[in-house]
């Protein structure tokens, strides 16, 4: 799993690639804990364009992050989940917690040429 985190103003974009599961979640959890301790984050965008799948360990991180930004009246978005990830979000009710966004090219602005 690769996690590319980009802070821009108070917006944190997290681009995930691979699998977010029991094995890979602790690494992302630590990364996010460090970022939240160093920055004021009012908006989080999870770019899941390249995420193969997510298990409950990954959902724990999404939920924890959402609670953090919500506590400062911020917002968290999930972008471009594949069918498998969307299925998990639906069956766990995470689709009602997060705003799910599909961007046109599947990536956020800084990758556009």
């Amino acid at each position: 799993m690769k996690a590319n985190c980009i802070m821009s103003d108070s917006t944190l974009t997290i681009r995930l690639k691979g699998r977010l599961d029991t094995n890979t979640s602790p690494e992302l959890d630590k990364k996010l804990t460090d970022i939240f301790s160093e920055h004021t984050v009012t908006e989080v965008r999870f770019d899941l364009s390249d995420l193969d799948y997510i298990s409950s360990s990954g959902l724990r991180i999404l939920l924890g992050t959402l609670k953090k930004v919500d506590s400062v009246n911020g917002k968290a978005y999930i972008e471009n989940p594949n069918d498998c990830v969307m299925n998990i979000l639906n069956m766990t009710g995470f689709d009602t917690l997060f705003e799910i966004v599909y961007t046109q090219d599947g990536h956020t602005d800084d990758e556009k040429q």
């Binding site: 599961d21 409950s56 959902l59 069918d83």
Partner: protein, 153 residues
């Protein structure tokens, strides 16, 4: 195309082409997933079915590693893979010799509560039940046996 994870070099307690036994510790979970994934690939199962089995294997193996052996006890987890061409059904059977525990008796996960009340408890088995067609638990000869099955379609 999803990349396979690679088997690591952790000691294998026992293995055959369709069954593997490893120590029930967190670092071995990727090997359990990889073993099941490679088996279903050899059986030419569709990728979306394989992905669902990978997710379910992660949830179940994580539960075994965290809860089956408590109080300083250690033990193994075994996974057996099965694909029945006649029924067009794929299955994984998990076994551990830890404390008897039926995950199907867990309280229902919270999937509708508001953000402040929302917790992650019970979501793992909720996901397994959601992505599989059949989930059965038995306790036989001092083993927790959890069988998960999904029709190939």
């Amino acid at each position: 195309m999803m990349k396979s994870s690679k088997m690591t070099n952790h000691p294998i307690a026992a293995a055959s082409s369709d069954r593997i036994t490893l120590a029930a510790v967190r670092k071995n979970i990727p090997d359990i997933i990889c073993f099941a994934e490679e088996y279903f690939k050899r059986m030419n199962c569709p990728q979306h079915i394989i992905t669902d089995f990978c997710i379910a294997a992660d949830e179940i193996a994580a539960n075994i590693c965290m809860y089956a052996y408590s109080g300083g006890k250690t033990g193994n987890m075994t996974v057996k893979c099965n694909y029945c061409r006649r029924k067009n059904m794929a299955s994984l059977i998990f076994a551990d010799s830890g404390t008897p525990f039926d995950p199907l008796n867990m309280p229902a996960a919270s999937v509708t509560a508001g953000l402040s009340e929302r917790s992650i408890g019970g979501l793992g088995i909720h996901i397994v039940r959601g992505i599989m067609d059949d989930v059965r638990y038995r306790y036989i000869r001092s083993l927790n046996i959890l069988k998960i099955s999904k029709a190939i379609r």
